[in-house]
């Protein structure tokens, strides 16, 4: 896997990412592939298994102090469920964890998700390198925010 840009930023302190499918959705082929690909790109990957609730996802993200939460759903419920995760994060005052999304997300929904702070929103068939690049960029922003507060 292409380790992507910003490598020096993460030397000896890998990107920590939480991968989760927070809905009622057992299609885990994609997320398992991503988990392995992210590991092979040098990230520390936390996968919590199937059917976590949005609350569990947010608690895990906070306790593990991840840089990025990557949400994936293929059951069409992203507008409801991704939003719940973003809302909970905001309620808990967390703004130094990035949220990225993926799955079967129609183009029309993407701007709405972006507005909630959920970026990426890649569909099936996206090259993994592209996804890794995006995550690395978001993680770099987060690391900078943590270091300087801005």
């Amino acid at each position: 896997m292409d380790p992507g840009k910003n490598q020096s930023l993460f030397k000896d302190k890998p990107i920590k990412i939480l991968l989760a499918k927070p809905g009622i959705d057992g299609h885990d082929r994609g997320i398992l592939v991503l988990a392995k690909a992210f590991r092979d790109a040098g990230m520390e990957v936390i996968y919590v298994g199937l059917l976590p609730t949005p609350e569990e996802v947010v608690d895990t993200a906070i306790n593990e102090d991840v840089d990025v939460v990557a949400l994936s759903l293929l059951n069409g419920a992203h507008m409801t469920v991704f939003k719940k995760v973003a809302d909970l994060m905001r309620e808990k005052g967390v703004r130094d964890i990035a949220i990225v999304g993926g799955g079967t997300i129609p183009d029309a929904d993407k701007p709405k998700l972006e507005k909630l702070g959920i970026t990426g929103n890649y569909g099936p068939g996206t090259p993994i390198a592209e996804i890794i690049n995006h995550i690395t960029e978001r993680a770099a922003e987060i690391r900078k925010l943590k270091a300087t507060g801005e």
Binding site: M1, P3, D12, K13, P14, K16, A35, K36, F38, R39, D40, A41, G42, M43, E44, V45, I46, Y47, V48, G49, P52, T53, E55, E56, D59, T60, I62, N63, E64, D65, K92, G93, V94, R95, D96, L145, K146, G149
Partner: protein, 315 residues
């Protein structure tokens, strides 16, 4: 809430605030040799010493995660505050890792509010991660009653747990066959409590007898490690298991030499680490001086004498 400052992290840890605890652990994990990390540890250290650190080791696939889930649930129900630290191996190729231990514990985590943190060992030999020493201090200072540390489970490399934990639990199970003989070699000396998981399975009872027999042959110390059988499916055996953990706690408390020894070991590793850190740049500077190295090669100076010369120079 804005981004946390160091003093907020320290205060938050002492207040038991999870976000502060989590961020504090990240600081000691990612920036362990910075002033910020040192400050956190310095300021919280006086508040440590309450928690019992329980190390859990055993071969992969033996059901350690499920067992820890049950153990932390049972302890939580008794009103204790539980933290879990799970260590996974980093990939030697990419440096990345898959931290999957939460899957089997998720129910206990959400239902009983158990705190859990996954750490990658980041290539450190010994199976533990460097930051785990500081991580348990943070969790201790934050008010945990028990800190359960799950090791990678890779045989010899796990022996380091005895230096970190107050109580070491060795988990074994039926059906390990010949493997058990190899595992026993190192592990029998470090265990304070032996647990046979999966008592519902065939061969569990035999495994239990086998361990008891081996322990009977080992040199008698003051603490005699008990062997407990548990069944993670229905929770059988967990009460007895917890009793033994607590008994060992009292044993440690009444033997202050054990606490001294632990501190001495940690001090030693910290000094060595500090020395290495301090002289690393001198050493690499010396090694990068081509002229000097050439001269050594020309004069056929052996590595020992060359090293002696360098150390003298630094000192």
């Amino acid at each position: 809430m804005k981004v946390l400052k160091i003093e907020e992290i320290v205060q938050g840890i002492l207040d038991g605030n999870r976000r502060a605890v989590s961020r504090g652990i990240s600081v000691v994990e990612n920036d362990y040799d910075t002033a910020a990390a040192r400050r956190i540890i310095r300021e919280i250290f006086p508040h440590t010493g309450h928690a019992q650190i329980v190390g859990i080791t055993g071969p992969p696939g033996i059901g350690k995660s499920t067992m820890i889930g049950n153990l932390s649930a049972t302890l939580s129900k008794k009103g204790f505050r539980i933290s879990v630290v799970a260590i996974d191996a980093s990939s030697p190729f990419s440096g990345g890792s898959l931290l999957g231990n939460r899957i089997r514990m998720q129910e206990s985590l959400s239902k009983y509010g158990v705190y859990m943190r996954s750490l990658a060992n980041r290539g450190l030999n010994g199976g533990l991660s460097r930051s785990v020493w500081d991580t348990v201090k943070i969790l201790d200072a934050s008010g945990s009653d028990y800190i359960i540390v799950e090791t990678v489970g890779a045989g010899q490399a796990d022996l380091d747990i005895v230096n970190l934990a107050d109580t070491v639990i060795v988990v074994l199970g039926p059906g390990l066959g010949d493997e058990i003989q190899a595992i026993k070699a190192g592990i029998m000396e470090i265990g304070h409590v032996f647990v046979i998981n999966k008592m519902d399975r065939q061969g569990a009872f035999i495994a239990m007898k086998d361990i008891e027999e081996t322990l009977a042959m080992s040199p008698k110390g003051e603490w005699k490690p008990p062997v407990i059988g548990v069944n993670s499916l229905n929770g059988e055996g967990y009460e007895a298991f917890i009793e033994k953990i607590q008994e060992h706690r009292s044993f440690v408390k009444s033997h202050s030499d054990l606490t001294m020894r632990k501190f001495r070991t940690e001090l030693q590793r910290t000094i060595l680490e500090e020395l290495r850190r301090r002289f690393e740049s001198d050493i690499s500077h010396f090694l990068s001086d081509n002229e000097e190295i050439k001269q050594l090669v020309r004069d056929k100076i052996d590595p020992y004498s060359a090293a002696e010369k360098l150390v003298k120079k630094i000192a």
